[in-house]
């Protein structure tokens, strides 16, 4: 996962290279590379996106709207938002804690923890879902205890939240660790020497320094939380109107040959993705800006 700032530094270099005849590539090479990447972009990214909206509106506005305000669809949207609203703040807290521990403290097993944070990225989401079934399912480790106490996790909302939490865990931490490591401890030490308490140090010194990276992590985390299919699919049970998230809802409609409705629901996810992209780009710009400032800070 690229940091929030790396892109923009690249653009600066590109500009420097392009502006001089001595370092410029021949037009043939330039247009060939540009052509390949643009073709790829149009075929694999732009066309599917357009197709989603074309299919969604094929039967007109009314069908589109009905598909979205239908109770099952509304409940899927609600559940998706609920899962995101719970898992994103929790991962924000976990992520900041984990990043803080790794960047600012020395302890045994640090490398292990870093590897562990990446686990949700390297494990297939289906496996992640299955793990929760094995733990909390009817036949699972805690299954009998849970059913004795009348607590439902698998095939219920808590399971969906857990699965979402699991797959989105690395986003915030991954974004913050390199950032916090690069910033070191000096500013915080300065704050403590000046009499600041732990929380004051965090609030007035640490947080402002990591806010753009944090925001970036939260956006990615949120996008994944709303879009997650695999892990959630395993624990959800696909009960309509109860345990269906938006991606699962799309799948069900599609399997039932309700293409217009399926694409209508998919278009909501697509819009979400686009909004995420816009916010992400804005945050990236701000992060690059503050990165530039702090670089100037280090320079002289």
């Amino acid at each position: 996962m690229a940091g929030a700032t790396t892109f923009h530094i690249g653009i600066d270099h590109a500009h420097r290279f392009e502006s001089k005849a001595a370092t410029r590539e021949t037009p043939v090479v330039k247009w060939l590379i540009l052509g390949i990447s643009l073709t790829f972009f149009v075929v694999f990214l732009l066309m599917p996106l357009i197709a989603v909206f074309v299919e969604a509106f094929r039967k007109g506005w009314e069908t589109y709207l009905t598909a979205l305000v239908e109770p099952d669809a509304l409940s899927a949207i609600k559940l998706t938002i609920l899962a995101a609203v719970i898992s994103v703040p929790l991962n924000l807290v976990f992520g900041v804690c984990a990043a803080w521990a790794i960047a600012k403290f020395e302890f045994r097993g640090k490398q292990f923890l870093i590897t562990l944070i990446d686990l949700p990225f390297s494990v297939s989401p289906v496996i992640a879902g299955l793990v929760f079934v094995l733990l909390f399912g009817a036949q699972g480790w805690f299954g009998s205890w849970l059913s004795d106490n009348d607590i439902r996790i698998i095939f219920a909302v808590p399971g969906i939240v857990l699965a979402t939490l699991f797959v989105t865990f690395p986003f915030v931490a991954r974004e913050l660790i390199p950032l916090m490591q690069a910033q070191g401890r000096e500013e915080e030490e300065a704050a403590v020497v000046l009499g600041a308490r732990g929380f004051q140090t965090f609030w007035y010194v640490t947080l402002p320094n990591i806010k753009w990276g944090l925001m970036y992590g939260v956006i990615l985390c949120n996008a994944r939380a709303m879009g997650e299919f695999g892990a959630v699919s395993v624990v959800s049970g696909h009960i309509r109107g109860q345990t269906n998230t938006l991606p699962l809802h799309v799948e069900i409609l599609y399997n039932e040959y309700q293409f217009a409705a399926a694409f209508a629901a998919a278009s909501v996810l697509a819009v979400l993705a686009l909004v995420t992209l816009v916010i992400k780009t804005w945050v990236e710009n701000r992060a690059a800006q503050s990165h530039k400032d702090s670089n100037r800070d280090d320079a002289s």
Partner: protein, 362 residues
Amino acid sequence: MSIQVKDIHKQFGSFVALDKVSLEFPTGELVALLGPSGCGKTTLLRIIAGLEAADSGQVLLEGEDASGTHVRERQVGFVFQHYALFRHMTVFDNVAFGMRMKPRSQRPSEKQIRTKVHDLLKLVQLDWLADRFPAQLSGGQRQRIALARALAVEPRVLLLDEPFGALDAKVRKELRRWLRNLHDELHITSIFVTHDQEEALEVADRVVLMDHGKVEQVGTPEEVYRHPATPFVYSFLGSVNLFHGRIEGDTVQVGDDVLPHVPHDFNHGAEVVAFARPHELDIVIDGEAGNGVAARISRILAFGVTARVELDGVNGASGQHFEVELTRARVLELGLAEGQAVRLVPSRLKLFEREIVGGVLQ
């Protein structure tokens, strides 16, 4: 406030950063901790501040054991090598930070804070920069702001970690003088860490020389420069010429050559290391054998008021290099030329008995 450290020991893994260090810093003095990198000076400073904990030993602030006192209650001002200014705050907010973090009952009013901040900014002569951000300042300005910020909480001691280390030579020189003046004005007990001997000798009331986690010598700049206690101190405080030899009555036998020296309390036959600063050596052209060390001129650099002559040793001292500082007039008078064979005669020689340090004969 007086500071005392007693038997401070600190180890990072198998690396001994501080080896039973005991020191006293009297009230109102400006003391330099001087030594090469890795000698433990910064670690000692951080232990005094409380940013680092010693493995054993005590830090006494005004006679009271501070080992259990949290950093924020020690009332120390700390200035970091890389300033550590809060980059997202204006200069004003940086300086006001310490006062604003105080518990509500002790916190001055916003109006008092404003007055105080402006007073401090005037003290460091940067009042006009209050609304700027750290990134908009030069290195020297940032370090002065960092100092103002440290002073804002009215610390009982001021600790500076290589305060001018990241600045260029000219600014460094200016800030040195400025720090000295500031100290004369405020008389706050201050310790600063540096690896620059010129800086330490020029600014401090007292210099503590450290090497390999141990204190080598403590004294006024003049004392340590004129009367270095160990070979390390001698060679750290300026350029040196070094001769290995043996005591023979009133002379030092260096290979086949002989250096005169005022009798010292060394036994006949003792193995010694003799030191002379470049300005303490003279060049003799037609000296008779047996007086002075033979050498060959390799380079003459005569662009300043003084000329520097670089020489290679011959005979017993072959493979060694020497450096002599003469007036230009003297160089002309002698008619020195590169490649010429000459003899070096010291006007002053500092002898140390050869000892085995870390298994290496020095």
